[in-house]
């Protein structure tokens, strides 16, 4: 494991600070509220949210930075994972809903459904939910990637159809007939694994889980990019035709990386939902997917740690600005897109690297 982080200063820093946060933040949180070092619980949840988004950024960096596919639809995988987790949390509500129906969720009672739809079966089991969190995005990514890569759709066309995919999913999820809460999505969660989502301990546990997931996700991505297959991945990005003529099955490699990345995004979504407390079709909106790109671009493409760093920083800025200066936020975000592409194609990681070499 240590070998993976050889020559990866940024990665060492990232994992180091995550480990530090896992140890330090529970301690700081336990301090009395009066203490100036006290770390409030709502900040813990907020930080946990950023970490899940960093995991999403990681998955996007893998396909964009290393594989060269500019995906405009990764939020779809994120949202699917989130929905799978949301379904489990909905089932956990049991008969504590407004209509006190042990079998059906509130929105189903409201729509006058008599029984649980088939695709909700099994979601009362945590392991089924976790399985689905990975499986559903993976299946979609596989089907989509299998078709697209085999017929060699690439570049801009691929980007546009990934966008069409997430847009189509968004429209579909808005429908009540879809059986997933329609417009309102899934919300009013109570418990996870029997622990109340309102309790500070659960929130802390979710934060730690997010941090651990990010560390594992990072190591997995690093493992892939450092492996021999990872070299081929980069070769595909830089010269697809040449790699194909050298005898590599470009489609298969692309497909597996894409599917893995989708699973990672699904996992991120699953950790995101219990901390945010709601999932609705808006998460599928094309804007969300594109926003992830700016995190990765600002942090630095094809560095992994840069993507995670960019996600955390920009989301922090977003939380701050949307509260303090809501008018300015879109100007900043838009400006960042333009600035990074024009002036800073390597992102912040590139800036750091340049400093290191000087």
């Amino acid at each position: 494991m240590i070998r993976l982080l050889n020559n990866d200063t940024g990665g060492r820093w990232l994992i180091g600070s995550l480990l530090l946060a896992i140890v330090l933040i529970p301690v700081l949180n336990a301090l009395p509220t009066s203490s100036s070092l006290h770390f409030p619980t709502y900040s813990v949840t907020l930080l946990g949210k950023y970490l899940t988004l960093a995991l999403l950024a990681l998955s996007v960096d893998l396909v964009w930075g290393y594989l060269g596919i500019l995906t405009l639809g990764h939020a779809a995988f994120f949202a699917l994972g989130a929905y799978a987790m949301g379904m489990y949390l909905m089932r956990q509500i049991g008969d504590r809903g407004v209509y006190a129906n042990a079998e059906l969720s509130d929105f189903m009672v409201f729509l006058d459904w008599q029984e649980l739809p088939w695709f909700w079966q099994g979601f009362d089991q945590f392991w089924v939910a976790i399985l689905m969190v990975m499986l559903v995005p993976a299946v979609l990514a596989f089907a989509f990637g299998y078709l697209a890569f085999r017929s060699r759709v690439s570049g801009v066309y691929l980007s546009i159809i990934t966008q069409a995919m997430t847009y189509a999913l968004m429209l579909a999820f808005y429908r009540n007939e879809m059986g997933l809460g329609g417009n309102n999505g899934l919300t009013d969660f109570k418990d996870i694994l029997g622990y109340s989502l309102q309790s500070d301990h659960t929130k802390m546990a979710l934060f730690i889980a997010s941090a651990v997931a990010l560390i594992i996700g990072y190591l997995l991505c690093r493992f892939i990019t450092n492996s021999r297959a990872g070299k081929v991945v980069v070769a595909i990005r830089d010269a697809e035709q040449r790699t194909r003529f050298m005898g590599y099955r470009v489609e298969n490699i692309k497909l597996w990386v894409f599917v893995f990345s989708a699973m990672l995004a699904g996992m991120a979504g699953a950790l995101y939902v219990p901390q945010v407390g709601i999932i609705n079709p808006n998460e599928f909106s094309p804007l969300n997917s594109i926003e992830v790109l700016v995190w990765v671009a600002v942090g630095g493409r094809a560095t992994l740690y840069g993507a995670a760093m960019g996600a955390i920083l920009i989301n922090y800025a977003k939380s701050y600005l949307t509260v303090e200066l809501p008018e300015v936020w879109l100007f900043v975000l838009g400006g960042l897109f333009v600035f990074v592409t024009l002036v800073l194609p390597q992102g912040m990681a590139g800036l750091l690297k340049r400093k290191g070499t000087e």
């Binding site: 546009i160 847009y167 189509a168 594109i290 879109l330 838009g334 897109f337 592409t341 194609p345």
Partner: protein
């Protein structure tokens, strides 16, 4: 449609009425007050008499009042004992005073009382109203009145209709009268007459005649004419289906025209120049806001303002487009994915700019009068004019753009630069200049599309987002770099959407179309009409 028409007629009639009343108000006020109060106080059997004398004195108003009474919309305020028209009698509703048209907000429901009528009065009034309408001066008014009562008559009315038919000169009104009578004679005991009526009704296209014929099948299950009626019913149903599908195609074409309009600017920037312009939707939005501004500047000339807005939107959006090209895109040629990100950033900035300047709320752009209304082809098919204008506008823009690209020097140079930049340069084409102009052209066309869209949807900061994905779909589906492809793709996607809509619902049909395009691109990555030969890129 007929309802719409009636409402129009009524409001027009009301307008005339007010004008007349304004003139009369000095002279006849006393008389009017007296008549109104007589009507309010009268018992049922007196009301007919009062209205009859009112009819003598002021036919237009009397008919209007009788219609209101038939629709249970005539009320009086207990306080002032004057007549009011109230469409929905609940507190907060609007009441319009009959004699001068003043509008009053209703405070409490019990302040007013309805001028009630019984069934006998109902039939008397109805007879009067229909008779007046059927003897209107304009033939089209008579026709509409006759069409409205097909299958909806009383025995008392039949005599009147027979009498009026004898005086009628207009052929189409005569035909309508015949149908009115035919519905009645359908039930006569004379089989020849019945057969005649069935033939008449069977050849007509009114929904009412279809109802009358199916009613016949139910009332006389043993009739010998049953096969004949069934045949006609089938025939009419077939025609109904045919015209329904025509209407679907018409709706589809108008939706498709919107798609083409939204996409055609992109066909220039993306298709010809290869620039992925994610801010395209926002250029449409700027065009729509320009329309709004122009309309604010000339509030008295709504119709004219729309015509002024077309060049204005072209210039404004085009200028913004040139700014974007000079400021950002020209540094990113050859890096399509970076262009995508940068222009997306620009789209966010433009959105927020509009939100800051105009507020995040939607702005409403008024539709000029000449764009509203319907064209009645026959009783089963009537086409809304606004959709017709959109289709015509879309085709005009398309042909203009095609002419610019194929017939002008600019078009020639644009194509030259897009096919072989270096060669074009060495032939003396100022390629940078051409890039800026081409992008400006595409952006300007997006702005013009915004003018059209401002007539269809709300003008708001988010409107661009709604069209960007559709626009890309249209261009990619049609084949990049091919204007004809964009036209065919847009129109066919629009029609497909409308055909799917009845059984899949609006949202699902959109999803299905998107999925179809995703699958289609797998099969033919270069779209319907791919570029071929040496010009083809990638």
């Amino acid at each position: 449609m007929i309802n719409q028409w009636l409402v129009n007629c009524l409001s027009w009639g009301l307008g005339c009425l007010l004008l007349v009343l304004a003139n009369l108000s000095q002279a006849g006020t006393f008389e009017v007050v007296e008549r109104e109060q007589a009507l309010i106080k009268a018992k049922f059997d007196q009301k007919a008499q009062i209205m009859a004398s009112w009819y003598e004195a002021d036919q237009v108003q009397a008919v209007h009042l009788m219609q209101l009474m038939l629709n249970s919309q005539l009320y009086y305020f207990k306080q002032d004992k004057r007549l009011y028209q109230v469409e929905d009698a609940s507190s907060g509703a609007i009441a319009q005073r009959i004699h001068d048209g003043v509008l009053i907000t209703l405070k409490k429901k019990r302040d007013i009382k309805r001028v009630s009528i019984n069934n006998r009065l109902r039939s008397v009034f109805r007879q009067r109203v229909v008779e007046t309408q059927l003897s209107a001066i304009k033939p089209q008014d008579r026709l509409a009145a006759a069409e409205a009562i097909i299958g909806d008559t009383t025995p008392e009315l039949m005599a009147t209709i027979a009498r009026l038919r004898a005086q009628e000169v207009d052929a189409s009104v005569l035909a309508a009268f015949d149908l009115v009578l035919a519905v009645a004679t359908l039930h006569s005991s004379d089989e020849d007459q019945q057969r005649h009526s069935i033939r008449l009704l069977g050849e007509s296209l009114y929904p009412a005649s279809l109802n009358a014929l199916t009613g016949f099948l139910l009332t006389y299950p043993e009739s010998r004419l049953k096969p004949m009626v069934s045949k006609y019913v089938e025939k009419i149903k077939g025609k109904v289906d045919f015209y329904d599908s025509l209407e679907t195609i018409y709706f589809g074409l108008s939706l498709g025209s919107v798609l083409v309009l939204a996409g055609i600017g992109l066909a220039i920037t993306f298709g010809v120049m290869g620039v992925i312009n994610m801010a395209h939707g926002e250029l449409i939005m700027i065009g729509a806001y320009t329309t709004y501004l122009v309309q604010q500047l000339m509030p008295d000339h709504i119709g004219l303002s729309l015509l002024v807005a077309v060049p204005a939107a072209f210039l404004v959006s085009g200028a913004v487009g040139i700014l974007i090209e000079r400021g950002v895109i020209r540094f990113l040629y050859g890096r399509p994915l970076e262009t995508l990100l940068a222009t997306f950033g620009i789209s966010l900035i433009l959105q927020q700019a509009v939100r800051s300047i105009f507020s995040p709320l939607n702005r409403s752009v008024e539709t000029p009068l000449w764009m509203t209304g319907v064209i009645d082809i026959n009783p089963l098919l009537s086409l809304t004019q606004s959709r017709m204008y959109i289709i015509v506008f879309c085709l005009t823009i398309f042909l203009l753009l095609l002419a610019v690209m194929k017939r002008t020097r600019l078009g020639l140079q644009v194509r030259a630069v897009s096919q072989n930049r270096d060669m074009a340069k060495s032939m003396g084409v100022r390629s940078e200049w051409i890039d800026a102009l081409t992008f400006g052209l595409g952006a300007g066309v997006a702005g013009v599309a915004g003018v059209a869209l401002s007539q269809l949807t709300n003008v708001g900061p988010n409107m661009g987002q709604a069209y960007i994905i559709d626009s890309f779909m249209v261009v990619v589906f049609g084949g990049v770099g091919n204007l004809w492809g964009t036209l065919v793709a847009g129109l066919s996607l629009g029609v497909a959407n409308k055909i799917l809509e009845p059984w899949a619902g609006a949202v699902l049909s959109k999803v299905l179309v998107l999925v179809f395009i995703i699958l289609f691109i797998q099969k033919r990555p270069r779209g319907l009409f791919p570029q071929r030969g040496r010009d083809a890129k990638g």
